[in-house]
Symmetry: C2
Subunit: 543 residues, 2 copies
């Protein structure tokens, strides 16, 4: 059997466009003599469709486009993911399903059994678990159908949840000779390796090959890396590309050697951010992005990624120096813009800053200069960026990193302005690693920007280290608390930090929840980002 | 049996404070001869505790404080809500439980069976359903224990979900002589009436009295109205107050007449917003609020509510006129501030506006004046408000209403600045009704502000009606689409509007998702607010 694994990039809710794309791939696959073509989980709606599923007229349209796809599927078998009404009608109205089409006929549906409801996943909000895995007879193969999470639990690698059912055990009793897994499995660091282990485990347990077809591309915060897989019990046989569409071809009648894949984690992170920016802009119908270019490392890395994602001629950097900006900052911003080939404009904020200070003077007279004046400068910059966005059709990109966002070392309505927080899930230490990677062949980001002590330049001789511990400490504590859910006591003991310091940082994390609630969507690249996947109240007295 | 129904206002995560409050109430109830005291669902953690439940050291502290409460419960029975580890350990690690304490001993736990996972509720993210309802023998009563949603399904009044289990049917087989329901049932318009119907239905079906103990107070967006209930099969016997703490006393040995309660919906809405503001500020440890006072109806209503919630001396209105502000606006703002007894300051934004225009002129020369300049004015105002907040410890309150938020008739980082969107779930028509209610005894909000055509005053002679249909039309379409999930075709037909108009408004709703994503938390007063309860992607091509 010749199989085309169509790792496609869909747009949420674009039923017409997603269906059109699938129909084209089906037609191409048929033309090239494939017997079966596979599309990812919820390919028709894009993943995650969120509350669109609750709109009855949306679900009617899903059924309509499924018929269109069936109509176009002459002489080929098709498996694709889509939501459908729950005919059993128990707890929830919908099922997360795979449809099997053969010779223009919708043969059957298989329903997802294990529904992730943790972190960014909300599947129990919409879906009822399927009853048991299906095995479909396609071209002499007994094809076991699974959807994403269905194959994860049995490996023991899934930590956060333990389902009652075990679809792989149920499937084993049906003796499949091939297992297909349609997925919308989002990227995070080293996710590919984990996904490969899961597939390998399933192939060994079920004693048959496993083919995983994953979604690719960015949808709001969620990034999908593709990396579709073909494994058998001896190991990895084939892998589709990372972060781009591909039709991976598999001929089950051919013996294939086992391959090994070693990913560069920082390159993956870079590619994830590139596709995240590109898809956010292009799927929204925008071409141009602008950002504040301070000459610091965060905005330098962000500008480099935007130039790659959108093309240098679509990126505008705006330098907005104040009385506290160092000459090196403007120099480095200019150097970077020249090397990237992006446009750079300079707007000193002093006159506007002065006009605010004059207007506020009658009310603030006698009060000490404090964070108010620092925030003012940041908000003037945000307002200028938004004026360019409004007047000329840019989307503003916010450049703060995860470490700053965690501790609230950022100004709400200031540097947090933007449609997207490009680095909002990237730690400061990862920002440095990205800078090194961007400079791997030649210096693009000026070395001084990498080597200088980080500064917000909002008061004389300010350094981040005036109000923050070293970023290596912050990143360790943030990871242990945010991603690991560790207690302050555990963290202090494990890393040998004073408990007071750990408690202070955790308190800062919670006290700045209000800022993150109003931050732009972050591109999720870790297992726990500041997004819908992390839910803490603003008003709380735990810390 | 004498029962105290302790309708308390808890703070999320304040285990120590919540436990202390309960211990005081237990001590008082014992002193006054009560046999049993009841506290709401998840009373120990506050509802909703969200991801705090996932922190192991948080759950350890929950167990510690439960022991403290047990220790303090001599010679009285106590029922309280709290999360606990799931000893059955199946799909999720936790149970949403009621603990029964008697004479300092933890006698048993009963677990919530029906776990709402829709709208603002995420209970399947944390909890496993309980297996069956418990009946506890307390003082000659067979007390059936239910938790909030457990009693809703059987009434048929729950539309969004259909659970497999029916706890009331299971309970009936155990022949309870009293049913207790501990709740954290949030307010929305007419929720009290619905809740009473549910209880009445349960009392009739189970042929025994039902006592519902509800949480009261605001936690971020969610507002709880209290209104704890005591019903039997003949009707309502007793009701605790709306929107404040109360210990409702019930003596089951006494016959009680049936009462009727008629709520004023607008008064309820007003009280909900008052408690929402008060709890948001005070639970965060803030006393003072400021807002932009334009003389328009939204800011006038918001200021009136803030004055009631925080005290007039804790509220600062800032009038920030521009070249487009009418003299009546300042006049009305002054009148209102005087009548409310709040402080008013005036800061003209012209000099700052001019400085932006000058700085931007080299870049914008030759381009037409457009929404950019309107947004600039709004963002200057937002920045001024934030400067006052930073310098003097105010929380800024945003005054935009739900109709504006739906259509994006609001400026991100401008009038959307603030810790709280007070009117973010209140339609424009409800804003008018609130103004009338505030003026019910004497004119507080100037009549001109109520009667004039709404205007953002961001360009010469601007009226909302220049770019929006009439608010009565908007509110109808928004309600049908947002709350009712109706299709454009259905809406156009039902209300006899052109389909093009309906489609245009729905498109505006989705295209402005990016603004709402960065809006301050809204106080939820409808069945579907712009908050965690409504999840739509920013990037989509459905409309």
């Amino acid at each position: 059997m010749k199989i085309s694994v169509a790792q496609i990039n869909t747009t949420i809710g674009d039923l017409q466009g997603n269906a059109k794309k699938m129909i084209e791939k089906i037609s191409g696959a048929k033309h090239h003599g494939f017997d079966l073509i596979i599309f990812p989980e919820l390919a028709l709606t894009g993943y995650p469709p969120e509350d669109f599923i609750l709109l009855p007229h949306f679900m009617e349209a899903v059924a309509f486009y499924l018929d269109q796809i069936a109509e176009a599927s002459k002489e080929i078998a098709v498996i694709l993911g889509l939501p459908r009404y729950n005919p059993y009608r128990r707890e929830k109205g919908f099922l997360n399903s795979a449809a099997w089409i053969q010779n223009q006929k919708i043969m059957d549906f298989a329903d997802k059994i294990l529904l992730p409801t943790y972190d960014v996943f909300d599947e129990r909000r919409y879906f009822e678990p399927g009853l048991e895995p299906k095995v479909w007879d396609i071209h002499q193969y007994r094809v076991g159908i699974t959807i994403c999470e269905d194959i994860w639990q049995h490996s023991g690698l899934l930590e956060s949840t333990l389902y009652k059912q075990d679809p792989l055990q149920q499937l084993k009793e049906k003796h499949p000779t091939l297992v297909i897994n349609i997925s919308a499995s989002p990227y995070s660091l080293q996710k590919f390796e984990k996904r490969m282990q899961i597939c390998l485990h399933a192939a060994q347990f079920l004693e048959c090959p496993v083919i995983l077809c994953n979604q690719v591309g960015g949808n709001d915060s969620l990034l999908f890396d593709g990396n579709s897989l073909y494994v058998d019990s001896t190991g990895l046989k084939k892998r589709a590309k990372s972060f781009c569409e591909e039709e991976m071809t598999i001929d089950l009648s051919q013996e294939a050697p086992t391959i090994t894949v070693k990913r560069n984690q920082i390159e993956d992170l870079y590619q994830a951010l590139v596709i995240g920016v590109r898809d956010y802009f292009h799927k929204l119908g925008f071409q141009k992005g602008c950002l504040g270019l301070s000459g610091g490392i965060d905005s330098s890395v962000a500008a480099s990624i935007m130039a790659e994602a959108l093309g240098p001629d679509q990126v505008l950097g705006i330098a907005m120096p104040s009385r506290y900006s160092s000459p090196e900052s403007i120099r480095d911003a200019t150097l970077l813009a020249n090397r990237l080939g992006i446009d750079l404009q300079e707007i000193p904020i002093e006159p506007i800053f002065d006009s605010y200070l004059s207007s506020l003077l009658p009310f603030f007279r006698g009060k000490e200069t404090d964070v108010t004046e620092e925030n003012l400068q940041s908000r003037i910059r945000g307002t200028i960026l938004m004026a360019f966005a409004n007047k000329m059709g840019y989307i503003v990109v916010s450049t703060g990193n995860k470490s700053e966002l965690a501790l609230g070392y950022t100004t709400l309505y200031g540097d947090l302005c933007g449609g997207l927080a490009l680095l909002g899930d990237v730690t400061k230490q990862q920002v440095y690693a990205l800078a090194d990677w961007i400079n791997r062949n030649r210096e693009i980001i000026p070395l001084y920007a990498i080597q200088r002590a980080p500064s917000a330049e909002l008061r004389p001789n300010q350094k981040d280290s005036d109000s923050l511990p070293d970023y290596s400490i912050i990143d360790q504590i943030v990871a242990a608390y945010i991603e690991g859910h560790r207690s302050p006591q555990w963290i202090a003991k494990k890393y040998d930090y004073p408990l007071g310091l750990v408690n202070e940082l955790i308190e800062r994390i919670h006290n700045n929840e209000f800022k993150r609630r109003q931050a732009p969507p972050v591109l999720r690249v870790s297992e726990k980002s500041f997004s819908i996947g992390r839910r803490f109240p603003i008003v709380q007295k735990w810390v």
